[in-house]
Chain length 317, copies 3
């Protein structure tokens, strides 16, 4: 997320109660988790094994739970609980804005776009031209939708990332990472009924031009889907995975987080993708998924075990 | 879909810019994709390998991309892009009608039927007597629902078929086949929460009398389900499959398109059905699914591979 | 379900047309299916093999389809169709109450709780303080929600149990067991978008403190989930299963009914749990699920079948 106006590191140190170390003249221009960080951003780190990654990242302001050497041109905000400091900044600059009507007055809706009854369109949402948003859709704040997009009933766009930090010492152990990212849907996308598209934690969840989703599809936080993909009913993709152009996922396929499915990959129904996939028309099957032809051979081999057993037993006679 | 009044082939040729070949006196009485075609219907074909199937079908008017010999009593509409011509006719005779209220004035709702708040009931919908439609359900135009039907919250009835034609040369590669079919739900059906039932492409998606669906069930376009079926939560059935009476599908089962599940078939949880199934109480399991007892044996055989390996190794000593 | 005031067995015999056998002075204080029965409750039994279980249960009033010896201090209501008698009592004391507005006047909503547009809150619902209920959520009657709970759009809380009695002789074979239980959601729970949480048949479906559900999760009737569980997107849990504290279920996991998943169990994505699981950090995988490490070994063994085959063939030469 980018801020509307830059924020001084002094204000941030004061707001979070952190100790300011390093360059005290910086202005932060946004806030991002480490995976999405850009120059000017605030980010946070609370595990020593990730210190180096964060300190050498593009982040300008780093909230950290130990006073370490500050790289030149960066600012450290040292506090015992960087996660809570990060969340407090997110909540300050992206507070929840209650809605009083189904369609927020701050939403903009393009010419020729039809919004059916019962649909909720949150604050600062932008919808392009000639879209058709069916009944009882829910579109959270800051979502952006291109032209000629069709969204079927019951679909939810922009729900929060499923992202928590465990605090074993508390009665309620999971501390919510507040999401401040968006969902961006490009032109000519169609989304079926009762799908769920989570917003990014700090960056954007994206559906590329011409991509089509069947019903009951789940797209996790920060997933980036390319152009002209087809996802059949019941597909679920976990957070931050990249799906390149022209990928086809058949029904009930599950895809793990942080993977890359390369251009043109095809995954057969009910497969579970646990590793990144090569594209170029390669086809995958199984849970865990593998090359589909290899999987088919494997299924035949399994059926031959009794025959093999008999051969071995015979030779023992 | 049937037209309200028959349409002359001259009007159709003119409307689509097609060349009229064969009988120029015909009147078209409806429009259907090839799987559902009836006498009087318009249909279309754009692959040479399907020409014969379409030309010998019951269709009276055939939109085709090559001038071929016209069978007697039929009319050809020859055009370079039959798909687009077909879609343009569908859109002309079944245009999208925007809704201004949650319950359309053209919907008819039987005596004793309770519609809870937030539910959308589209144009020309017919609902029988003594039904209970819970809150935030979405029922698209032309759906027909019998008596004593219960539909739980969040369910979507009549969303579009997931059916596209690929146009590799375009930036947005998938061209939508506009659906003009309906969903027909017979008496005593119960549908759980957040289910999705797509309309047929040109024919009807049907749920037979007494069939019960748990939550989050997906029924694809043109699926015909018989009487007294039970589908547990998370079941997904792809387009145009026929499920006969008294079929039981347990949780998260997926069924491929164009299959027949015969009367009384039982499919255990998480199975993936890729072939038509015999019924009569036969039970199936696995992904891909097979006879459940055979599958159970197979699972045991897999566990015996190490033992088999050891036997073979021993004999090598 | 407990009655608001106790009901005499005479009234019950008269209401159901049953013959009263045994203690005719009893007052029934509630009604429950056999799994949840407490002293004072009415329960029912219609299979001889379950007679003993029901007659020796805590139930005070037993609706039964045969005149048997009545245990001391209990009352039998003898009728040819105990199921129908039970359902008629449930419907009498927990009739469907139509709603006229999205938020029922009998619902109570705590201070600081935000309810977004399009959300339905049924009769007698209680929601705690500082909750955030997003748009187009549906909350059925009698649901109870604690403080600091977040519920995302499209989620349905309190839909009916998927529970039917088969009547093969009828045209519509499945007779609905009317649910009169509730859903109870404890503090600090977060529920994702388009989830479905069914009410209990007669007892409660419970989500314990600090538990977090991702999107499109299904929780069956009477499931009891402990504290600080994490269920990823697409998880489905069938009726009356107990999930203890700190259980983690990854994406698209399915869990069968009537099981116990002990504290700290972890189930990997797409697994199908058909048996109760030990906890303590044990990890499971597969459909049917097993110890994850054993499953991984099994997957490797399957890949070695061709090698084994070759060894056996060689020795035959």
């Amino acid at each position: 997320m980018k801020f509307e106006i830059p924020v001084s590191v002094h204000w941030l140190a004061n707001f979070t109660g952190a100790k300011l170390v390093g360059d005290d003249t910086q202005m932060a221009t946004g806030i991002n988790e480490i995976h999405k960080v850009q120059p000017g951003d605030i980010s946070f780190v609370d595990f020593e094994k990730y210190y180096n990654k964060c300190l050498t990242s593009a982040a300008t302001v780093i909230i950290i739970n130990k006073e370490v050497d500050c790289p030149p041109g960066k600012t450290l905000l040292v506090t015992s609980d960087p996660f809570t400091a990060y969340v407090s900044i997110v909540k300050h600059f992206r507070p929840f804005e209650p809605a009083n009507s189904l369609i927020s007055p701050s939403a903009t809706i393009g010419e020729g776009t039809q919004v059916q009854p019962g649909t909720f369109i949150g604050n600062h949402v932008k919808i392009g031209e000639n879209c058709l948003i069916h009944a009882n859709v829910s579109i959270y704040d800051y979502t952006e939708i291109g032209d000629n997009v069709i969204i079927h009933s019951g679909t939810v766009i922009g729900s929060d990332a499923f992202y928590f930090k465990r605090r074993k010492e508390r009665a309620s152990q999971y501390d919510k990472l507040e999401s401040c990212g968006r969902v961006i849907i490009h032109q000519d996308v169609e989304i079926g009924a009762n799908c769920t598209i989570d917003k990014g934690v700090s960056g954007d969840t994206i559906l590329g031009q011409g991509t089509k989703l069947d019903n009951l599809v789940h797209i996790g936080h920060g997933v980036v889907v390319g152009k002209n993909c087809l996802f059949a009913a019941g597909v679920a993709i976990a957070g931050k995975t990249t799906v390149e152009d022209e990928v086809t996922l058949w029904g009930q396929v599950g895809v793990n987080k942080d993977l890359v499915l390369h251009k043109g990959a095809v995954v057969l129904a009910q497969s579970g993708v646990g590793e990144s996939l090569e594209g170029g028309g390669k086809t995958y099957f199984g849970s865990p998924s593998m090359d589909a032809r290899e999987k088919m051979k494997e299924l035949v081999w399994v059926k031959r075990i009794p025959e093999l057993w008999e051969k071995v037993m015979k030779k023992q006679d």
